[in-house]
């Protein structure tokens, strides 16, 4: 199996970057005083997700969260998955790059995570540290 980093390097040489039309707006329940955060997908990563045959299964990343530093990790050597739609890729990215405390374990009443079109992100950053997820 080709290493993930090699697959990424090869993909970069042939795939055009894809700027996503989505952003992920979320709050961290562990730090309620902090502002809402905005996750922006990498265009090269999105191109890989849409092309298929490059990225590993999301459950390998989740298992690797529990692997101590320096120990072998699973995701670089896992069999790559097929192409995703942009919406599926965003859901994959939520599970990869956002703490499970936000998208899996949270049981409160507030909505703390939304996938939104980029146009819905405020264009004025004057009060950036006061942003909250609209209920």
């Amino acid at each position: 199996m080709t290493h993930l980093w090699d697959r990424l390097a090869e993909a970069k040489s042939r795939l055009e970057p894809v700027q996503s039309k989505y952003r992920v707006l979320f709050e961290d329940p562990a730090t309620p005083d902090e502002p809402a955060k905005v996750l922006v997908p990498d265009p090269n990563w999105m191109a890989c997700a849409l092309a298929g045959g490059i990225l590993p299964p999301i459950d390998t990343y989740q298992r690797d969260r529990d692997v101590p530093d320096g120990q072998p990790k699973e995701h670089p050597y896992a069999e790559p998955i097929d192409a995703m739609t942009e919406e599926e890729a965003i859901e994959y990215l939520v599970m990869k790059d956002i703490d499970p405390a936000v998208w899996r374990d949270y049981q409160g009443n507030r909505t703390i995570l939304k996938i939104v079109p980029v146009e819905l992100i405020p264009s004025d950053r004057s009060f950036r540290n006061a942003w909250r997820v609209v209920q």
Partner: protein
């Protein structure tokens, strides 16, 4: 994709071991523009999956292929192209928090009288060297 399995590369004058090439390559890099009104964008990269805008001047950059541990070298610069000031001593600083799968950078804008405040920056330039997972 084809694979060449060789121990050395030579141009008939100089020979270098492929381990130098592999170990000396940047394992990830990114050019993140932070001043867009609707948040940062990654305008050039390799081995990055996303950037999270955590608040004013605070960004987390996530890797697609994690590093083996946190003992890797990063080269990080920030610019303050967004700012127009008559002072010549304004500068921005990036303070990173490193994990094997991401790096979080808090950028501080320091004025000529030494006062620092968290501030959005023009862009972040990041390069990583080290061992991949």
């Amino acid at each position: 994709m084809s694979t060449l399995t060789v121990s050395n590369i030579s141009d008939s004058t100089t020979t270098v071991g492929t381990s130098y090439v592999i170990n000396g390559s940047a394992k990830a890099w990114g050019f993140i523009v932070g001043w867009h009104a609707s948040g940062p964008t990654i305008d050039g990269s390799n081995n990055l999956s996303s950037v999270t805008d955590n608040g004013t001047g605070n960004h987390t950059i996530n890797y697609t292929n994690s590093m083996s541990n946190t003992n890797y070298a990063y080269h990080l610069t920030t610019s303050q192209l967004r700012f127009t000031s008559t002072s010549t001593n304004h500068r921005s600083h990036g303070y990173p928090v490193v994990s094997s799968s991401s790096i979080t950078i808090q950028t501080i804008f320091v004025t000529s009288n030494g006062v620092g405040t968290a501030s959005d920056i023009g862009d972040i330039n990041l390069t990583l060297f080290g061992d991949l997972a």
